[in-house]
């Protein structure tokens, strides 16, 4: 953008569409790689529970959901042994998508105001801790999506928020730029070089526009208390006052003052049954217990996520020592409900299987939207390079980062799953090492993208990604007793689904690799030297979600780069 300005001696007033186009390009480009990674990990996170199940093959397929009331009772009993002195327990119950129970509890801490929690995963049938490999499973992709890794959680969330604001600006400026956004909607000129990249990017942006706008804004809303805490800080000075706000936001009740009188916790199962009568047998999300064993104990049984598109808290509050229902908390104020709906829309947990798949597919299209935007930039700029054999640093940087991010991330994610199957169970910090493997693979892909000629790098990395994805079901068959045919026979659609989706994604990568390899390009405009008539065909990877495109983009394979092979 500054280069353009450098060229004009007397700056003419630029139209709004032109300035918005520049803004869109910069907003998209500066953090585009981060956004691509957030989008892809966010996309797979719609199935994070399934990925987590796949990551713990020792735990049997759950054919039917155990009664949450019984599970809550068992786990509460276990917590009585594990976390006896704790002032606050919170139990997450199994569901159709979750075959374990989990709990976290407040650890007695010397530091006031600094929370520390213990955590464990439990077998719903016995209430005891599960014995399965140490892994973060799908939770890794989910957490990476909004707080990355290897940095303090708050930094990661701020970074994600910054990226989300860039995305929001990119969307709005994109809509303003694309004036004929609705009449142009169905037009795709697929044979015209840079034009077709623009059209692919437009297509993915436009038909997914409601989703992309919603997901970006609601993403900011999920962490809005971090990004915009000023009103809250001003309005609520004491913890008691702050509770006025938190009871509008979640069902995570806080311990009051202990009475000092011992009183055994009443059967949690009975309390859960009252909630089940209201909301459905399997529609119970969490049971939070404060001051268990004390007369001042309270139990909150929170409604599950099915059946309503809102995360605003709905819970029954019981007196812990007697099981008496104290309060039915089933509505919040209008702003809180709005926030609840927006939060739910982002997480998409309320959806049935079809809705979840729609989320996944449209989110994948959003990922492709970001990817095509990044690649399109190099396609457009390449035509304008004064010397295509020696592009300027900015161009080289974008080109290599594109390869490393887009092709490399697939490899990194596949590596995470590979390491889940291969790392020995005795390895200390095994769960962390799966994550290290992810980043090591990504770094190797970056190195490859930098060292190889760009087009070769694209093709090679795409093939590596394809191979790693395709072989995962085979690896699964060799290292576990849950091969595809057994999963299908047992109706275990979590494992079967994983295998099949992995193959579908592998096929997608194969297709991209083939298209990139096959494509030939004419001589670029303005470059007539014999060097560019080198026989090496040129190509550029295509858009994942758009089936067939051809283009006359040129790509890097000039003789001087060939010499590096």
């Amino acid at each position: 953008m500054s280069e353009k300005r450098a060229e004009s001696a007397a700056p003419k007033p630029r139209g709004i569409r032109q300035t918005m186009s520049d803004l869109h390009i910069w907003a998209g480009l500066l953090l585009g790689w981060m956004l691509y990674a957030m989008f892809l990990t966010g996309t797979v996170s719609y199935f994070k529970n399934e990925i987590s199940q796949w990551a713990r093959p020792e735990l049997a397929h759950q054919a039917s959901v155990p009664d949450p009331a019984d599970v809550a009772q068992r786990v509460a009993g276990e917590l009585g042994r594990l976390a006896a002195g704790s002032s606050q327990w919170s139990i997450g119950l199994p569901s159709a998508r979750e075959n374990t129970a989990e709990a976290f509890w407040r650890l007695a801490s010397a530091q006031p105001g600094q929370r520390r929690f213990g955590q464990a995963t439990f077998d719903p049938a016995t209430g005891h801790k599960v014995t399965a490999r140490d892994t973060t499973g799908g939770e890794f992709f989910y957490r990476f999506h909004f707080q990355f890794h290897y940095m303090p959680v708050l930094w990661g969330r701020w970074l994600a928020g910054l990226a989300a604001m860039f995305m929001l600006v990119a969307i709005v400026s994109g809509v303003i730029t694309h004036k004929k956004i609705f009449t142009d909607f169905f037009t795709f000129r697929w044979a015209k070089g840079q034009r077709s990249w623009l059209d692919a990017h437009n297509a993915l942006s436009v038909f997914g526009l409601p989703f992309h706008l919603m997901i970006t804004y609601t993403g900011l809303v999920t962490l809005m208390a971090l990004y915009m805490p000023y009103g809250e800080r001003l309005a609520f000075k004491t913890p008691q006052e702050r509770q006025q706000l938190t009871r509008e936001l979640n069902a995570f009740i806080q311990p009051g003052k202990p009475s000092g009188r011992a009183a055994e916790l009443a059967p949690v199962a009975d309390m859960v049954r009252q909630a089940q009568a209201l909301w459905g047998r399997d529609n119970i999300a969490r049971v939070t217990i404060t001051l268990p064993g004390d007369a001042a104990s309270r139990v909150a049984v929170a409604r599950g996520e099915e059946g309503r598109a809102s995360m605003s808290p709905q819970y029954l509050l019981f007196e812990g020592s007697s099981g008496r229902l104290l309060e039915t908390h089933d509505s919040v104020g209008p702003a809180a409900e709005t926030r609840g709906v927006m939060y739910a829309l982002h997480l998409g947990r309320f959806g049935d299987t079809v809705t979840r798949w729609l989320y996944f597919l449209v989110s994948l299209a959003g990922t492709a939207m970001v990817g095509t935007g990044l690649v399109m930039w190099t396609v457009k700029r390449r035509r304008k390079l004064p010397d295509p054999a020696r592009p300027h640093l900015g161009f080289r940087l974008v080109e290599r980062l594109n390869i490393a991010t887009i092709a490399g991330l697939s490899i990194a994610m596949a590596t995470f799953l590979w390491s889940n199957r291969l790392l020995p169970g005795t390895l200390a910090q095994r769960g962390e090492w799966e994550i290290h493997a992810f980043f090591i693979a990504w770094a190797l892909a970056l190195a490859h993208a930098v060292l190889r000629p760009p087009r070769r790098a694209w093709i090679e990395l795409l093939w590596v990604g394809a191979a790693m994805l395709a072989l995962l079901p085979v690896l699964n068959m060799l290292t576990t007793d849950r091969p595809l045919w057994r999963s299908i026979a047992e109706g275990d659609w979590v494992f079967a689904g994983m295998d099949l989706v992995l193959w579908a994604l592998a096929a997608l990568h194969v297709k991209l690799a083939l298209r990139t390899a096959r494509h030939k390009a004419p001589v670029p405009r303005g470059a007539q030297s014999p060097r560019t008539k080198a026989p090496a065909p040129a190509g550029e990877r295509t858009v994942p979600s758009v089936p067939r495109t051809t283009f006359d983009a040129t790509h890097g394979a000039t003789p001087s780069q060939d010499a590096l092979r």
Binding site: W190, F207, L358, P547
Partner: protein, 94 residues
């Protein structure tokens, strides 16, 4: 089942709207269709999209229904789009 009842009208609606555009009429039928037929297609398209919305809200309520509707319209728009591209490409290849 109700999902199909939302998806299919959306698909029909977007197909009709796409075919109501001259550019695609040229591509699919080799000629522009008469104005009256184009009008019918456009009305049919919008009507089908409204019908899909009605089914969504009727079967899933406003909250879940609107979300479902949004998902199905996004997906069906994308599908129609992809099919148009595939069609264009096959014709060019001949």
């Amino acid at each position: 089942m109700s999902h199909l009842a939302i998806f299919l009208p959306s698909l029909l609606g977007f197909s009709a709207l796409a075919l109501a555009m001259e550019r695609h009429q040229e591509s699919v039928f080799d000629r522009a269709l008469p104005a009256s037929l184009t009008r019918v297609l456009r009305n049919l398209g919008w009507a089908a999209l409204l019908a899909a919305l009605a089914v969504a809200v009727e079967t899933q309520g406003w909250g879940l229904g609107l979300v479902s509707y949004s998902g199905h319209t996004s997906a069906s728009a994308g599908l129609v789009f992809g099919l148009l591209i595939a069609w264009q490409r096959r014709r060019s290849a001949r």
